[in-house]
């Protein structure tokens, strides 16, 4: 049996609110092997994005722990977690999160440049060609459609060859046809590059393309579909 790339043990998240403390995630555990894919589904406010944030080390749990690529994230400070993210993690966001002031090529080059790759431009160009945007390299985000922007974001996410790719509602801002094409692209690339995919979505069809699925409701795990 392969060792886990991502493990969560007894995760809870409690936040203060006007009515006292609010538990938005209850005692959740999971394991994910390298190359696997996991969908987190649930309605709005079920705690999907909170879980994603905790798994990716963007936030810390109130209780429990997360191990990502052998690092116990809860024992690391923010800068150390940033280092783990830099080495092992890629992201695709619902709102694309492209930098307005950079064109498509420069957006994809950014993580490569941060790593100090001398061939950043070439690799970014190849990736953009792979996602079908070879003709739009110098276009700024505002000159691209939503689907095109998400493709740039996907290219950026794979640029640094992450071990785990976190995707937060990657098709949430797109029409169904474009969403379909984007999810095809996401799974194709994931397969090609052997990354582990953690996907948050309320789109059941998209979620069922993953090998495993967990369903959240009110911050609790209510269903688990294993292969």
């Amino acid at each position: 049996m392969k060792s886990s790339i991502l493990t969560a043990r007894n995760l809870s998240k409690v936040v203060p609110s006007a009515e006292g403390e609010l538990t938005i995630l209850h005692d959740l555990s999971l394991d994910l092997n390298p190359g696997g894919s996991l969908a987190i589904v649930g309605s709005s406010g079920s705690g999907k994005s909170t879980l994603l944030g905790l798994l990716a080390g963007l936030d810390l749990p109130s209780d429990g722990n997360v191990t990502l690529a052998g690092h116990d994230l809860c024992t690391l400070d923010e800068d150390q977690r940033a280092r783990v993210r830099a080495e092992h993690v890629g992201f695709v966001f619902q709102s694309f999160q492209l930098l307005d002031s950079l064109n498509a090529l420069e957006n994809v080059m950014l993580p490569l440049e941060l790593e100090g790759h001398a061939d950043a431009r070439e690799r970014a160009r190849t990736l953009l060609e792979r996602v079908g945007l070879g003709q739009r390299l110098t276009h700024y985000p505002r000159q691209l459609s939503g689907g095109e922007q998400q493709r740039v974001a996907i290219a950026r996410a794979f640029a640094a060859e992450p071990d785990v790719l976190f995707a937060d509602e990657p098709t949430g801002n797109l029409d169904s046809h474009t969403g379909e094409r984007i999810s095809d692209l996401l799974f194709e690339l994931n397969q090609e590059r052997g990354a582990t995919l953690v996907l948050v979505s309320h789109d059941e069809r998209l979620a069922h393309r993953c090998q495993r699925l967990i369903r959240l409701e009110g911050g609790r795990l209510v269903d688990r579909v294993e292969p």
Partner: protein
């Protein structure tokens, strides 16, 4: 990402900056900085060069840049030091001597000079008394020049010979103007000018004679400063070093005020820069929240993300500052080129200092205003990529404003090197900002209640302001500060020009009459009344020397180089008066009543001299008048305006105290240039009376003031232009949200006219509020400035009430211009571009 070395970070920052610049993201911040640095550099250059120029002109009053004077010849090493430093050198020796001709004798003030004299300014002379004067070199060895008075007194003509001591010299020209005569205002005897080479042969100067030796120096400011430093410690008790600043009170005051004004103008430019940068930097930071969160997701540590943005900002600041400094330099060069006919021909080129100060200004302003919002970027939680509502914990306001104030204070102090001015401006500004900010916030809250019943355009426009009252108050304060800086410079300009005008009215006395005998007094006054429209009263004068203070010899009390030292080294003109002279307000004690009970007579002392001699009310002063000692008690201290070209006195005695001593009278009067021939007749009728022309001094002072005025006018233009530019740039920085809102309203079907009206309401109110703030702040700061920095009398300025209107018009115009894109282009494009 611990392996991100600095060089990579720098290259990344450079590339990011370049990309953002290309995308048009940095334009506003770049131009705000560019304008600010260009303005402060050009004002810096303009004032430095003009002030050097004015100083050069003022140096003519000394005939040199620096003067070492003493009652015995300067030591060899004192002269050697100047020569080693490469300074130009001239020497003069001055003494009183009787000159003789066949017709009689006359006491004259003789000046013997070498051929290099004067080092600044020119001698002027005429071929015959009262003929047209011409500039040119001084007399040759064997020759002598004399003032017209000497010609009249001794019945001489050009070509005659006169005897100075044992030497016979030929009179070749009539001396009409010596540049350094002004500093010696009260020299009563007429001037005779001869060559130093002839001096030994006269045999007049013997050990123990009362002689004034002057070493004149001219050179670069650096060399002069080095000379001053070298020579100052070893100065003998009888020696003094002076430059144009301390050489002449009238010019010194005018120069001092002009320099302060120019400094203040630079400070206003810095303030403008600060406001511009503050407006833009906050936007710079806010626009990078997403980028910062993303970079953190991509694995950059907090420190690295912060370094990346700081480096970007530093690079931006440096390039904008360098470009601004260059632009500023070209700006002032162009101005000097355009003004070449009006300015002195040989203006010094100006050093690198103003450019460096301009660049430093840009960088420090950027650091002070932009670092605090930037620090917030380091604290953007990476979770923001998932939840857009997460904003960084804002930095403490104390930190933000503290850093900004510190930065402003540092620049102001560096530029003006004047702690008092800096503290006055900064303290006044801060006080005004806090008070007015609170007032504004309060009024905005009140406005909210009124708004419910207002028409739609008003609700739309003002709603925009009310939604973020703190931001609206901040913007209003920023624009208020811009208007304030502009209004303040305009206001001070008017006051300074008025004060100079008052100092030198059209008919300022241009002649002094001295040595009027009591027997001639009434006849002279009558004759004067016919000649001059505005004669001053005749003042009795008794020459006397202050010898003791409270029984202690005065020489042991005074410090070297003080006003007191100069006053006790020579005879003072003592006078008496029953009434306190006009323009002489009492600063301590009381004026005497007609009946004085005390057994010791009272004396009123000029307050500056009193301070220098550490005199206080009730002190006993002993004077020696022609060998007779007189005691008096200090009963009052008086302020004296030495700039008014009226007879002024250090000591005024109680009437009845000095009457028994030999007295003469003096007065000053205005005589139009075309009536100058009357002087000859006047001096023939009253041969004992000494007439002094101060027209040359006045003309020189007027020409300096004209240049200063010109400088001030142009500096005002600079500040106004910079203010407007910064206003537009600043407004641009606050427009994003408004453009979006406008597009949204248009998409919802709002008519163009409605939007324009809403904008007018919003910007009009913002501008009017800024104007009110500027008017109140301007009055407050001007009050502090007049009182503590410029020594001017403060009065309210009703025209400042126009500022709200000006502010409303300016900001309304600029705002509508800035948001026209939202009105003219398709709302869809605007919304899509976000």
């Amino acid at each position: 990402m611990s392996h991100l070395p600095f060089t990579r970070l720098l290259s990344l920052a450079t590339r990011q900056l370049w990309r953002e610049a290309r995308a048009g993201e940095l334009r506003v911040l770049f131009f705000a900085l560019l304008i600010a640095v260009a303005a402060s550099t050009s004002i810096g250059y303009f004032s430095a060069r003009l002030s050097d120029g004015m100083l050069m002109r003022a140096s003519e009053f000394l005939a040199a840049d620096l003067l070492l004077s003493g009652s015995s010849p300067a030591a060899e090493q004192q002269i050697g030091s100047g020569q080693r430093l490469g300074l130009e050198h001239a020497q003069t020796v001055e003494f009183s001597s009787v000159i003789a001709s066949d017709a009689g004798i006359q006491l004259a003030s003789v000046k013997a000079t070498d051929s290099a004299y004067p080092l600044r300014g020119q001698l002027k002379s005429a071929a015959a008394p009262y003929a047209a004067e011409q500039p040119g070199p001084g007399p040759q060895p064997g020759e002598v020049w004399a003032e017209a008075r000497v010609f009249a007194a001794l019945n001489l003509k050009v070509g005659d010979s006169i005897e100075v001591g044992a030497k016979n010299l030929r009179l070749t020209r009539v001396l009409t103007y010596e540049p350094d005569r002004a500093g010696d205002f009260y020299s009563f005897t007429p001037r005779v000018l001869m060559r130093l080479e002839d001096l030994p042969a006269t045999g007049v100067v013997q050990p123990g004679s009362r002689v004034k030796y002057r070493e004149l120096w001219r050179g670069t400011p650096e060399a002069l400063a080095a000379y001053r430093e070298d020579v100052s410690p070893g100065l003998e008790a009888h020696q003094r070093l002076e430059d144009a600043h301390d050489g002449n009170r009238q010019v010194g005051n005018a120069l001092g005020r002009a320099e302060r004004y120019l400094n203040l103008a630079s400070l206003a430019a810095v303030l403008l820069a600060g406001v511009a940068v503050a407006l833009c930097a906050a936007r710079f930071a806010a626009k990078r929240f997403d980028a910062s969160a993303l970079l953190r997701c991509l694995g950059l540590s907090r420190r690295q993300a912060l370094s990346l943005f700081s480096l970007q900002l530093a690079l931006l600041g440096l390039s904008a500052s360098l470009a601004g400094a260059l632009l500023g330099w070209f700006g002032q060069s162009l101005l000097f080129y355009l003004l070449q006919g009006l300015l002195p021909a040989e203006l010094p080129p100006g050093s690198l200092t103003p450019a460096l100060a301009g660049i430093a200004t840009g960088l420090v302003a950027l650091a002070g205003f932009a670092l605090p919002p930037l620090a917030a970027l380091g604290r953007v939680p990476p979770l923001r990529v998932l939840r857009r509502d997460l904003l960084p914990v804002p930095p403490s306001s104390w930190l933000v404003y503290g850093t900004a104030l510190l930065a402003l204070g540092l620049i102001m102090w560096r530029l003006s090197l004047d702690l008092q001015l800096t503290i006055t401006l900064l303290g006044g500004g801060l006080l005004a900002a806090v008070l007015l900010g609170a007032l504004l916030l309060f009024s905005l809250q009140g406005l909210r209640r009124l708004l419910a019943r207002a028409a739609l355009p008003w609700r739309l426009g003002l709603g925009q302001l009310l939604r973020h009252p703190l931001a609206a108050a901040g913007q209003s304060l920023a624009f208020g500060l811009i208007l304030l800086a502009m209004a303040m410079i305009a206001l001070l300009r008017g006051e300074l020009l008025d004060s100079w005008q008052a100092q030198l009215p059209e008919q300022a006395p241009n002649h002094f009459a001295l040595n009027i005998l009591p027997a001639d007094k009434d006849a002279f006054a009558d004759r004067l009344a016919q000649l001059s429209p505005v004669p001053a009263p005749l003042y009795p004068v008794v020459p006397g020397r202050l010898v003791m203070i409270n029984g202690e010899p005065v020489r042991q009390i005074v410090s070297k180089d003080s006003q007191g030292e100069r006053a006790v080294q020579r005879d003072l003109s003592l006078t008496w008066a029953a009434e306190l002279p006009r323009d002489n307000p009492l600063s301590a004690g009381s004026w005497w009543n007609s009946v004085q009970a005390s057994e010791m007579p009272g004396v009123s002392v000029e307050s500056g001299l009193a301070a220098s001699l550490q005199l206080k009310l009730g002190d006993r002063l002993s004077f020696s008048v022609g060998g007779i000692n007189r005691d008096a008690r200090v009963t009052s201290l008086r302020e004296v305006d030495w700039n008014n070209f009226q007879p002024n006195f250090y000591m005024i005695f109680e009437p009845g105290t000095l009457q028994d001593l030999p007295v003469t009278y003096l007065t000053s009067f205005y005589l139009p240039k075309q009536q100058e021939r009357q002087l000859v007749e006047l001096s023939r009728t009253f041969p004992t009376v000494t007439l002094l022309q101060v027209e040359a001094v006045l003309a020189q002072l007027r020409s300096i003031l004209a240049q200063v005025t010109l400088a001030i006018e142009y500096v005002l233009l600079f500040v106004l232009a910079a203010g407007l530019a910064v206003l537009f740039a600043g407004l641009q920085a606050t427009l994003d949200e408004r453009i979006r809102q406008g597009a949204l309203l248009r998409a919802l079907g709002a008519e163009r006219r409605l939007l324009i009206k809403a904008r007018q309401a919003e910007f009009g109110l913002l501008g009017a509020a800024s104007g009110v703030l500027a008017a109140i702040g301007c009055e407050l700061i001007s009050f502090l400035l007049y009182r503590f920095a410029f020594d001017l009398t403060w009065q309210p300025h009703p025209w400042l009430l126009l500022l709200p209107l000006i502010g409303a018009l300016l900001i309304c115009g600029a705002g509508i211009l800035g948001t026209r894109r939202a009105l003219n282009s398709s709302p869809l494009t605007v919304l899509r571009e976000g």
